[in-house]
């Protein structure tokens, strides 16, 4: 629960278009009528909070969390790290970040994934953490493989990690995907291309970050996340009774 003023209305121009014929499933799953735009209320400005005490020691270590530390996952070891901020540039501390991904061969551990790349017995594919007091987070994982999917004739997802972030209010809720610097499949991906401005796609591409890589152990990629901010001016005090 937090209340610090109205949320800044979403700038839909940075986001994907809901309806995109190149991503076929979106054609029947996108509203065709306009969204109802309103100032946020207490409902959207508050949200669930999760404490560090709910986390297990290996929750942000996807290399080890599936086997509880017994055996490491197969693949290129990477540190995914970054910071959660809001549009005002303020860190978002103590917020839950969840990730999920395919294994090094491009296969998900999911009842619905029938791709014939093998499951890795040592890899589950999900992790979670809570940002520290300055909004920083990190995961140790393996680089996921690209994988094919049914859409147009021969479609492959670039390597990516799915990310879910809460922020401090339900109206900040965001799910996105992180891509990897240098992956030629990003330019061919109709899901990345649901974002119509190339500059905004680039904001989902994590650069290699050798300053955080550990010699003889793992490479690192940096991925910062910006959530909606709060509108506050000297002329906008809290409404009565809230």
């Amino acid at each position: 629960m937090t209340d610090q003023g109205r949320l800044i209305p979403r700038n839909r121009a940075v986001h994907p278009v809901p309806y995109d014929p190149d991503y076929k499933t979106s054609m029947t799953r996108s509203p065709s009528l306009p969204l109802l735009s309103m100032d946020s209320t207490f409902t959207e400005e508050t949200g669930p909070r999760f404490g560090h005490n709910m986390l297990g020691a290996l929750d942000n270590n996807l290399i080890l969390n599936w086997t509880k530390g017994a055996a490491p996952a197969v693949g290129e070891r990477i540190l995914m790290h970054g910071r959660v901020l809001d549009e005002m540039g303020r860190p978002v501390p103590h917020t839950l970040v969840e990730i999920w991904q395919a294994n090094a061969g491009g296969r998900y551990r999911h009842i619905k994934d029938t791709y014939f790349a093998p499951l890795d017995p040592n890899f589950g594919g999900c992790g979670r953490t809570i940002t520290d007091e300055n909004g920083y987070y990190e995961f140790l994982t393996i680089r996921p493989g690209a994988y094919p999917w049914p859409n147009r004739g021969n479609e492959w997802r670039p390597m990516h990690i799915h990310i879910s972030v809460f922020g401090h209010s339900f109206g900040q809720r965001l799910i996105t995907q992180m891509y990897f610097e240098g992956d030629p499949l990003i330019d061919r991906c109709p899901i990345a291309a649901t974002i119509k401005d190339r500059g905004h796609i680039d904001r989902l591409v994590a650069p290699l970050d050798m300053s955080k890589a550990k010699p003889m152990d793992f490479l690192a990629y940096k991925f910062d996340i910006v959530l909606r901010g709060r509108r506050q001016t000297m002329f906008e005090n809290k409404p009565e009774g809230m």
Binding site: M1, T2, R10, N11, V14, H15, P16, P18, Y23, T25, S26, M27, T28, R29, S30, P31, S32, L33, L36, S37, M38, S40, T41, F42, T43, E44, G47, P48, F50, M54, G56, N65, W66, D86, E87, G89, L96, E98, W100, R109, H110, K112, G125, C126, R128, H162, S164, F170, L174, I175, T176, I191, A192, T194, R203, L204, D224, P239, E240, G241
Partner: protein, 199 residues
Amino acid sequence: MVQSLDTLQETPSQTAGPYVHIGCIPTFAGLEGIYPEDLGKRAIEEGAKGQIITIRGTVADGTGWVMRDAMLESWQPDAAGKFPGQDGADPKVNGFCRFAADAETGEFELRTVKPGAVPAPNGTLQAPHIAIWIVARGINIGLQSRIYFEDEDNSTDPLLARIEQRPRVDTLIAKKTGEGEYRFDIRLQGEGETVFLDM
């Protein structure tokens, strides 16, 4: 040229994809044991004050097909209209819940407490409602909506009042199907399209 703004821009959304359950409801995807329990498993704990209700429904696409892969989240106050974390809030109300459309039938179920009215920005009250957020493959940015209740007074709710096409108000109102039981079907597109929010 002008001065540059020092604000940042929100990170673009991407679809949650078909495997959202792995990250958000691992046991649904078959990943038992990775966490002690899925996050947001219950909106309330035993002993929550107020009327315990169950809301059932489906999420249908533009063709009317009931989706089997949707994931939903809800956020609401307790029976007195207080959100978790607020002074005096019912400690047995978690407020947040995560639930999935059934993989076979597409039905979802939310067991919770009937929420109380909460203040509106203009100082009046909003009718009792539950905020929901829907993600799935093919949804490029999560869809916000609200569940209101047909047996509450919704006549002065500021959000419902803003809906110009009055028959569409009905898409946000859960229908009573029994004592403590409601039905709330969501239509993403087409005939009877649910009102989605940008708040």
